[in-house]
Every structure is written in structure tokens, then in C-alpha cells.
Subunit: 390 residues, 4 copies
């Protein structure tokens, strides 16, 4: 079982190392990264310590400044021991996107979206990225504000157009979200709509499941199973939540739910033969209070623990109990695996690979945060970092 960790990789988000916050403000951190170099350095540090975060999702608007080519950025990543992962366009920050991007009634907004996606795909081609990861803030705030079906058609058209222009090496990931920042309707509100748009776009379009993007009570592992069986699951954005899209550390609120997601993936693959190896796991968290690098390490190790617990479920036993309609026994297979303390096995796995047994402690002992905090503050002349939203 433990060797399955060898191929379990979690992508880090460049924006997770920058100062972010809520609509009420940001609490800045000295060590927050403000340039792509700093972000890649931080990500590299996390990967060196955990051994499971080899790639970094990048954000086109914030990470590819004028005057530096994408390949230069990719070289920086390589020097830091990581590689560029998914390309994340930004279709919400510019004022032109006030009424949406791909779905806006404003042709200028749609043209701006096309242009930004073109640039994103070019970057993807240059750095050899395999994924164009699309999250849309598109939607409306008021009943009647816009024609929902016209917006649907615009989204279909845009995705099909972009899919056609997408480099062969790339996959398109279509994310859904029921609300925020749009508050009456969002153009891709749930997995069903994302699946529809992905299918219409073309064979290389898949659905991206952000664990925080569901209405209260939604059964995410059911959705994941469904998408896998339809060959439509592309990947995950990982985070946890108690209320809405809270962007808390994975597993910090409901670890059993994360375990069940990993188990659903395992069952779809092992029991039903659906392809699951391509499914990408990316952290998407906004740490307003926690130190950013520590939170990333915590996320990566938590993901490993819950993934490993899911591997420990005795599937044969489970299937027999299910076939016998023995609910208590079937459930017990999950509970027993979840109750197992996998931390010793994980420490062993790390030791065997020359990694620190406790990556968080190792990070603290390294003095990295204090050092880069001092350097970065000095470099910014005492100003807070500013790169990324909120």
C-alpha cells in the first residue's frame, strides 16, 4: 500500500504563497512571496521537504511579468526543483470583466477573454504545461440581470473555440462553483453544467472539482464517482470549508470526507477499471492567518495521510459486505481504515526516500521563513507583498 505514495503528487498553487485575504482585508506576512521567483522558491522548499509536490500551478496575470519569457520562468522553476504545472488564466480582475468574461454581453469583454486565453495557451505551450485550468467568475447578481441561455451559448462557443486552439499537450479543466463572486447565478454552477460545457468543448476538456465549491450537504464523493465513470473528471482543487468557499486547509474541518473522496477514486479505478491516473490534485487555499509555507506542508502531509488511509480499506471485504447488504460490516471497512494511525508508515516512507520524517519540524528548523521574511521585507522597502487577489 505504502508504495502507492510514490506516485501520489500534489500540485502547489503559486498564489498560495502570496498575501491573500477576504473582502474585509488582508493580514500581511513578512515572508509572503510577491514575485514568481519567490513563489517558486517557496514551492521548491515545500517539495524538498515533502517529496510529493513536484509542480506549481501558475497564475498568468500575476506570475508572467512583462520582460520575462515563460521559458525563463520555467528555468527558475527547474532551478528550484519543481516544474510548471497547470496554467490558470485570470478572467475576473480586469475592469472589462465587470459583467463576465466569456459570457459577458459586452463583446469587448469576450474579446479580452479570448486574448488572455490565447496568451495563457501560448505560455502553456512554451513551458510544456499539460493543463489549462479555467475558473470563471461569470454570473449575475440579480434576477433578470442577463439572459441565462444566451450566456450559456456564449460559454459553449468560447470553450469550443479555445479547445480547438489549445496545444495538443494540454487538457482543459472546467471548474464549477455555485456562487461568489456572483450572487444570483453563476454560469457554471454545478458539476452537471461543467460536464455539459466540457463535453461540448471537446474530448480534451474535463471537469475540475474544487472541494469547497458545493452547496451545503452535497455529496462530493458521489459526484467524483459519477464523473470518473463518465471519463469526465480532470482533477481537484483541494481545500476545506465549514460554511461556503472558506479555502481552509484540506482536512482541517472534515477529514473523513476527504478520505471518502480518495476512496471513491480508488474504487472507480480498481473495482470498475476507470482511468484515474491522470486525475490531478492541486492545492487551492487562501491562508489569511496561517503562515503560508507551513500551511502548504500541512496540506501536503494531510493529503498523504488521508490518501493512505483510503488505500488501507480492504476492498475485497468491502465488496463482500456490500453484496450481502451487510451495512454495518461494509461501513466498518471504512471506519477501520480511517481509524488506523498511518503516521508511522508515512515517516518510514519518508525516511526511505531521504526526506525529513516530520517535514513541518524540518521546515521550522531550517530557519527559512525568518530568513526570507527579512530579505523580502527589505526588498519591498517594508511594504506588504502585492500579488494576487483579495
Amino acid at each position: 500500500m505504502i508504495e502507492r505514495l510514490d506516485t501520489f503528487a500534489i500540485e502547489l498553487p503559486s498564489w498560495g504563497f502570496a498575501d491573500t485575504g477576504t473582502r474585509f482585508g488582508k493580514y500581511v506576512q513578512a515572508a509572503a512571496a510577491s514575485t514568481i521567483d519567490e513563489k517558486l522558491a517557496d514551492a521548491g522548499m515545500v517539495h524538498r521537504l515533502t517529496g510529493c509536490c513536484p509542480s506549481v500551478a501558475v497564475h498568468v496575470l500575476w506570475d508572467f511579468p512583462a520582460g520575462r519569457s515563460p521559458t525563463q520562468i520555467a528555468d527558475v522553476a527547474e532551478r528550484e526543483g519543481v516544474r510548471i504545472g497547470s496554467i490558470n488564466p485570470n478572467l475576473f480582475q480586469d475592469q472589462v470583466f465587470k459583467y463576465g468574461s466569456a459570457c459577458s454581453p459586452d463583446p469587448e469583454a469576450r474579446a479580452a477573454a479570448d486574448e488572455h486565453i490565447d496568451r495563457s495557451m501560448a505560455i502553456g505551450r512554451d513551458v510544456g504545461s499539460s493543463a489549462l485550468s479555467l475558473w470563471f467568475a461569470d454570473g449575475t447578481n440579480y434576477p433578470g440581470q442577463d439572459d441565462i441561455l444566451q450566456r450559456k451559448r456564449r460559454m459553449e462557443d468560447a470553450l469550443a473555440r479555445w479547445h480547438q486552439a489549445m496545444p495538443d499537450s494540454m487538457e482543459m479543466l472546467v471548474e464549477y462553483k455555485p456562487f461568489e463572486p456572483a450572487f444570483y447565478h453563476t454560469d457554471i454552477a454545478d458539476w452537471g453544467m461543467a460536464a455539459h460545457f466540457a463535453r461540448k468543448a471537446g474530448p480534451r476538456a474535463k471537469v475540475l472539482v474544487d472541494t469547497g465549491h458545493h452547496l451545503p450537504g452535497a455529496n462530493i464523493e458521489h459526484i467524483v464517482s459519477f464523473l470518473l465513470s463518465e471519463r469526465l473528471l480532470g482533477g481537484f482543487h483541494f481545500n476545506d470549508r465549514k460554511y461556503a468557499d472558506d479555502d481552509l486547509t484540506l482536512g482541517s474541518i472534515d477529514p473523513y470526507a476527504v478520505f471518502r473522496i480518495f476512496l471513491a477514486i480508488r474504487i472507480a479505478g480498481e473495482r470498475h477499471g476507470f482511468e484515474t491516473r491522470h486525475v490531478g490534485y492541486t492545492v487551492d487555499q487562501s491562508h489569511n492567518l496561517k503562515p503560508k509555507i507551513e500551511a502548504m506542508i500541512q496540506t501536503a502531509t494531510t493529503a498523504q495521510e488521508l490518501f493512505l488511509k483510503a488505500q488501507m480499506v480492504d476492498l475485497d471485504h468491502l465488496v463482500r459486505a456490500q453484496d450481502a447488504m451487510a451495512i454495518v460490516d461494509a461501513e466498518r471497512c471504512l471506519r477501520d481504515a480511517f481509524a488506523t494511525d498511518v503516521r508511522p508508515a508515512l515517516r518510514e516512507w519518508r525516511r526511505a526516500r531521504g526526506l525529513p520524517e516530520d517535514p513541518l519540524e524540518a521546515f521550522r528548523e531550517s530557519g527559512y521563513e525568518a530568513r526570507v521574511g527579512a530579505e523580502r521585507q527589505a526588498r519591498r522597502g517594508g511594504n506588504p507583498a502585492s500579488s494576487s487577489y483579495a
Copy 2:
């Protein structure tokens, strides 16, 4: 506008005239119907008073007793001035359905489901019904209880099989519900899953939207628009809710939301040319406290009022405002229509058709409830009515 009411029909549910309740018990009513004859008499009364409820959804298990042929029942309906509408199988009451029906791991349960559906379709053929309306209680209560993807396949198989055997005159309506009575997962949890199963089943399968079957916050009018544009919307089960599937009178909690649903249908048809005439509206309410017939009359007239308000939206004005991204103006088109008092117009429409202007008052003046209450109690020997769930 007002003449659009001429073709706006709402189907009544036979089970809405019987005593029903919650898991904590039923409060019985003397006038509650306990036989299909009584239910059809009550429905006929509602139709005579409102003029907009020409058909009655029937429940196979409760409404087609041994010893009476479906055509006999249809004759009773005709005598009462109504006709048999959708056929509603029952795949949850028999003990064999403990772990599900079409999705059960138990082959006997699946066979029982097949058999009951066969009977339901035969009834549909005999009475000339145009719809087989499928709601499944299938699901699980605990993580791990059953293999979700195997259940998915079983559902696909069953629906395809039934679709093939379905009389040409019938349409299959597939309902979704996020929870209850299953509490961990339901096999058709949302519109996306219902749409998937309908598509797999065949061209005459459509999705049924029950307004109370959504997670908190779901934008139902968005779902309705989406389904119409995919030619997958078959009809509605009407009721209202504040919390879960509360089965309250339509529009009693959030009338503006119902108005927006009617508007979404109108826009899909008038603006986008999608077919909407086949969309069926059926009441699905459980009145534990309100007098049943009064509640049905209230529901029918409320539906007419909100439908009519939706017809009063100035679509040209709306489109211009939407194109100009004038949010306040666009929204105002909806608000103005909703603020209009349509009751005088409705009274006028009723008068012109020889209907009582206030159907509820007319019903009270008729003395019907007291009369049938006395008769029915006498016939039952003082026992409460027993037909239908809860």
C-alpha cells in the same frame, strides 16, 4: 396575456387528497379521501371550481385496487370531469425495497421493480396516460454501504429497459432528490444525474424538477433554463419549502422564486425558441395540517397568479436592458411585473369562463367538505383514512 391562462393546466395528485403526515405521525381529517373514487371526486371538485386542473396524477400502489380495471378507474375520472394524468409507480413501500429498487444489490428487489413498472406501464396504456413519473427512494444511509457505480449501472440498465418497453404514447419522467429517505447518498441526487439517466434511457425520457428537491441555495430557474435548452425538461412537481423537502403549498414561502421559474420557461420558449408546451405541472404536496381540498384550490390559484405575473414581464424592454448591461432596469422589469396585482384580471378570466371568481369561497359555500367528511367517516366506521404514505 390573460388568454395564456387558457392553456395553463395544473395536474392534481391523487395522494394529495388522502391523509399524509411526517415521520412523527399524521393528523387525520374527516374529509380525507381513502379510495380512488373519493380522490377523483375531490379532484373533480377542484377542477370544476378552478377550471385549470383537468387531470389527476395517480399512484399505482394505492389507486388501482385488485378487482377494478384501469379503464374502470378512468371512467370514474371521466364522470368526475377529469382524466387520468401521469402514472406514479411506488418503488419504496414494499419491504423488498429496503436497500433500493432498481439499484438494489438484491436481484429480487430489482425484479420486483421491473414487475411493478410493467404493471404501471400497462395501466398507463389502458388509461391513455402520457407520462410515467419515476421517483426513486434508492440510495444509501452510510458511507461504504454499497458500490455507488454499480448502482449507477443498475439504474442505467433499468431505465433503458423500461424505456424500451414503454408504450409509444408515454414519456418517462426522471425525478431527482438530494436526500430523504436515503441520508448518505441518493442514486439520482441532482439534475445532472437525472439528465444523465434520462439521456441514457432514450429519447422519450426527460427530467422532472420537484421544486422542493434541492440543496439550500440552489438556483432552480437556472436549472430549468438549462434543461429546457437541452430539451430535457419534462415537467414539475410543485410545492414550496423553507428547509428541506417540506411539501408546503406552492408559493407560500417564496413566491418570487416561483415567478422566476415561470419566467425562465417563458424566456426559453419566446426568446430562444425551445419547446415548452409539453412541460407538465403537477402539484406534489403533503398537507398534514391544511384542509386538503382548500390547499389544492389555493395552490392552483397561486400558480395561476404567479404564472400570469411572469407573462406580464415586458420581454422587449428586458432584452434591451440586458443588452445594455443596465442591471437596475433589467431587474425592474421583473419587479414591476411581480408587483402588479393580477387578481382582478384573474377574476375577470374566471367570470368569462363561467367559473366562480373566488374558487376558495365557492368551495366553502358549496358545503362539500362537511358533506363528504360526514359520509366518509361513516363509511370508514369512524376510522381514519388509510391510503398513501407517512
Copy 3:
């Protein structure tokens, strides 16, 4: 730590051994108990196996048949190795309670409530119960149905009256619930209202927290802390839920949340000196699918495991981290305790007390369920058990 289990007791509900269901029906079990004798026998079995369930909550309406005195029932309990715990009146099943009990506009309903509570308190006195546990189905289904403030006053009056008449040995527990079976408002909708009514009633009235009776997202451990610090927490009804009041097995959906509740109680007691020893834990679950006795055993052992994990949190470490605003460290104290596998310690604890190490396995090996199933079915002449709601 482990010795804290010695005083950790969980009360079993008599109604948890009977057939119950949802509004859509019940799935009956051969071994379901239909008499108070059978229920007490089952509870005694659970206690013999787990050693932590010494008392049984009883339901006045179903458990105290005419012709048998309360002390006779208490003797039966004693013979089965358990004692009578909290007394649970039923203020919802009789037809007179259609519009509520204590809050009903109908004086007959209020009188019936008074009478039933009198009888409940007399039973409590006779059997030496220490708690009168009050759950009200009171509420309304429609806006305007009744005058909410008049109902509030009626509830205040009733509780004060009952408090005054309550035997000295008893405590009054006031439960809250946001909805179901009332669907527009419930007269005691949240902890704030329950606390208000308890305070008004008198010093021996406390709040009962049912873990399933909260709106989506509610932070239950926060409420628990708050109530303890106001000396207003009386006890718990234990169950789990994913959507509404699903009455699933404790910890089956979100075990980390249960752990946090136990931790909140521990912190209130150990860190802040609030009294927590009187807090009663009672199972309140409706197992429609799971075998009832197995589910009770599973619940009791799950509660022990999660209670024990909460005892393993290093409070000194936690406090230091909190004082230093070291979020990651503080959170880690909880995660580490939760990640610990406490099952070996629990087995050890059981062995030391002469209990079976795996109570569920021991129950299965006992052949009890098959035996009583056969006996009970025979005694009922093949009819399903009928005692309790739904």
C-alpha cells in the same frame, strides 16, 4: 486518560430498539422490540457487552402500558442489568396536538399536555428518574398560521408550571430543533430560545443539545461551550447527519465534529472550572436499515473512541500555542490526538473490566439477534413490531 472511560456513560433510548422509519415507510426487522420488556432486554444486552450503557431513556406513551406500574417496569430494567434513565413525554402523537401542545391555541391541547406531563413526572418519581426530557413538535407550517409571541408566552407558562410541579430529584431538559415536523417555524428553534425557556422555567431546567438539530454549518461545539459557561447545558441527544435531522449513527458522517464536542466539554471543565459531570449523553437514533442492537453497540463504542481521543489532546501544549497565537501548533494538538488509534487502549480497558474486547463480534457470536428475532416474530404472529413513531 483511559480511566476516564470508567465514568463515561451513554444512555440508550428504548425507542431505538423498535421499528422506526421515515415518512415513506418502515423496513421492519424480526428482532425489533415491540414491548418495554423486549427493549429493556436489548438494552441490557448492549450494556453487558459494552459496559458503558447503564441506563435507558423511556418514552411514556409507548413504554408504560396500562396495567403495569412504573416500578414494575423499573424492576424489569433492574433484572436486565440497567436502570430507567430520562423520562420522555410524547406531545405530538395524539390528534389533539395537531396545532401544537404547550403552545397550541386550543386549550384542550394545552390541558392534554399538562396531563401527560403530570403522568410523566409521576412515572419519573416512581422510578427515580433524574430527568424529564422535553422535545416539542410545536410550531407552524405557514406564515401567519399563529401568533408567535402568544405561543412563546404559552411555552413560558407551561414550562414554569411544570418546573414547579417537578419532583425534586428531576431536572428538566429543553430540546431545540429548527424544523420538522413543523416547517415554517418551531417554537423552540435554536439554543438561544431553549436557553431562554430554560431560564424562565427555573433553576433545574437546562438545555438539551441534539447533534442533528441545527441548520447547515452551525458550530455545535461553540454552542456547547457557550451553554456550559452559562451553566445551562443539561445533556445531549447523540446522532449524526449529512443533511437535516437524519438520525444516523453517531460519528458515521463527521467523526471529527463529535471529537471537537467532547473536547469542548473537557476544556470547559478542566480549563475553566465549569461543572460538566452532570451532562448526560443519550443516543437518539432511528435505524431504519441497520440492525438495531448492532447499531447501538457501534454507537457506544464510537462514542468511547471519540471521547478518548478528546482526552488525549495535550491541553497544556494547546494553551501555550493558543496564547502564542500559533495556529498551526494549536490545531496540531487536535489533529494529533484525533489521528491516534485508540482502539488498542479501548480493548485493554475492556479486557481489564471483563468485557469482550470487540463488543460487536461478541454480540454476533452470542446468537442473540437470531434467537430473539424468532421468538418475537412468533409472539407477534408474524406481524411487524409496532411501538414508536414513523
Copy 4:
């Protein structure tokens, strides 16, 4: 009835005229106000047109720049035809408040909070404000992050201290919110906690109900009734929402719910004799898309319409129906009032007071927005306005 509008006043929020947004960014408006002078000018314009917005809630941090005394600001208000209303401190924007303000483990944060409140109260005294309106972002993001009961005590202490120091003319309003920006717990999470803190603080402390600050399904009119009957309701923050705290225009999503709140207030006063005249209504909305002044006008007129509909409920009829437990009739009293088109009466009321019949049209005809947009942009040198959060 209509004359009740004469005393129905709605306070405008200074921050509602500034650019605000979501955590994903702001869409700026040329006419957005960036100084207190501009905000007061805009508010004055709204009041001149609607006649019902005589006061302006001010935000201490953004509206009282160094170098200008509070009385100078009050003079500006007077010139614009309005007066200063509630004083709103800011206890979340400064970096010192990272872990909370009054509840922070950091004594510096608590001292900063004290100091800011002192300043706020001094301003309140100087400008003759009658309300100190307290919203706290205090809370935690992770289980274990801080000791909830210690935080509770800190909040109690702070509010008691502030209450004692508060000018006699002022009332303290304590707002609650279940989440955001804190994502695991907020220190004042619901009305029950707010009521507790208000009671502890002193007799001039009351609860502020923000209509958007509730968990899904909460019955706000029930809470309002409860608070009024306990003499604990101080006022409202008005806005609407579909999902979380969406800050949409009042009544834009669920107008019937707003109507029911107004009716609850009326019933508490007229039927039960509770004091309601002091209850303050303040708009608290963040218009990221709608033009700010238009949205304020729309809000004020919507509030008038829904308030007026609530006055039209026939209370005598309602009470008779409630006493008779005639649910349909009781509900009908509400429905009939809500269905009434009150816009003609409102136009008449405005005409009689020399106000424009359609304030929104009058605003547009005034050319105000274009004029101040040009002026303000020029003054800012083309930069967006920056004052207020998000």
C-alpha cells in the same frame, strides 16, 4: 395606513456610496464617492428624492480624516440635508486585529480596540449620534486555534467596559454573524450570543439583526419577534442574499421574507404592546455592480413598499383566524396584503409631500451621476476611489 410612512425612516450607509467589491476584486465606478463630503452629498441626494433617508451611518476609520473635527463633518451633513446617524467603528482592518479585536489573545489588539472605541464614542458624542453599532470580525479559522470561552469572557469584559464609558445619548448595537471573515467560529455567531453579550453589557445594549447574517433556512421574523418581546432588538442592517452574506439589494431575492419581518414588528407592537419605535433600519449593502445611488434609491423605495404591504394586513381578521386555527384564512391575510399593489398609494404619498413620484426616474433626469462622475474622476486624476473595504 399610508400615513405610517411618515415616520418610517431608513438610514443610509456612508460606505454604500464608495467602491466596494468581493475578495476577487472591485469594479470601480466613476461616480463612486471617495470622501465623506462626497458620500454625504450622495446621501443627501437620495434623501431629497425619497424623503425617507434622513440620516447617514458613518464609518469611523474612513469618514473622519485627520484634520477635520466631527462637528465639521456634521455640518457638512446638515448642509446636505441629512444628519449623522450610527457610528460604526472598524475593528478588523488594522494588522493588529489579525487574531481578533476585543477577543484577541494579543493585549495590544485589545488595547487598540479600546482606543478605537473611545475615539468612536467621542465622535458619537460630538455629532450627537444615538447609536454605536458594533460588528466584530472576531473569530477563528481552525479548530483549536483559540480558547472560545476565554474569548467569550474578553468580549463580555470589553462590551461592559465600553457600555459604561458610552455617552448617555447613545445605544450600543451588537451585531451577530455566523461566519466570514472568520471561517471556523465567530465570537458572536447568532442572535442568542448577541443577546447574551448585550444583556451582560448593560441596559443600553441591544441586538442588531443583519438580514444577511444567518445560516440557510433561519427564520428571521421569528428571531425578530423573540428579540422584541425581550426588549433586546435595537435595529436592522438591511440587505438580501441567496447564499451567504451576499449584500444584495433589499428584497431583490426574497421580498416576501422582508414583508414578514415588517409584519412581525408590527404585530409585536400593535398586538403585544412591545416598544418598536426605537428600532432603527439601516441599509448595509455592497454594490459591486449596480450604480450605487440608484441602488440606494431602489432599496429605500422597496423598503417602503414592503413596509406598507405589511401595514395592510388586516390584524383583526388575522387574529380571529389564528384563534380559530384556520390556517388557510390566517395565511390568506398575509397573502392578500402582499398581493396588493401599493405603488399607486406610494406615488400619492410622495406627491402630497412634494417628492418626485418616481425617485429613480427623477434621479436619472437630474443628471447627477454623470456630473459627479466627471467631477470626481477629474479630482482623483483618473484613479479609482479608495475608501472602504474590499
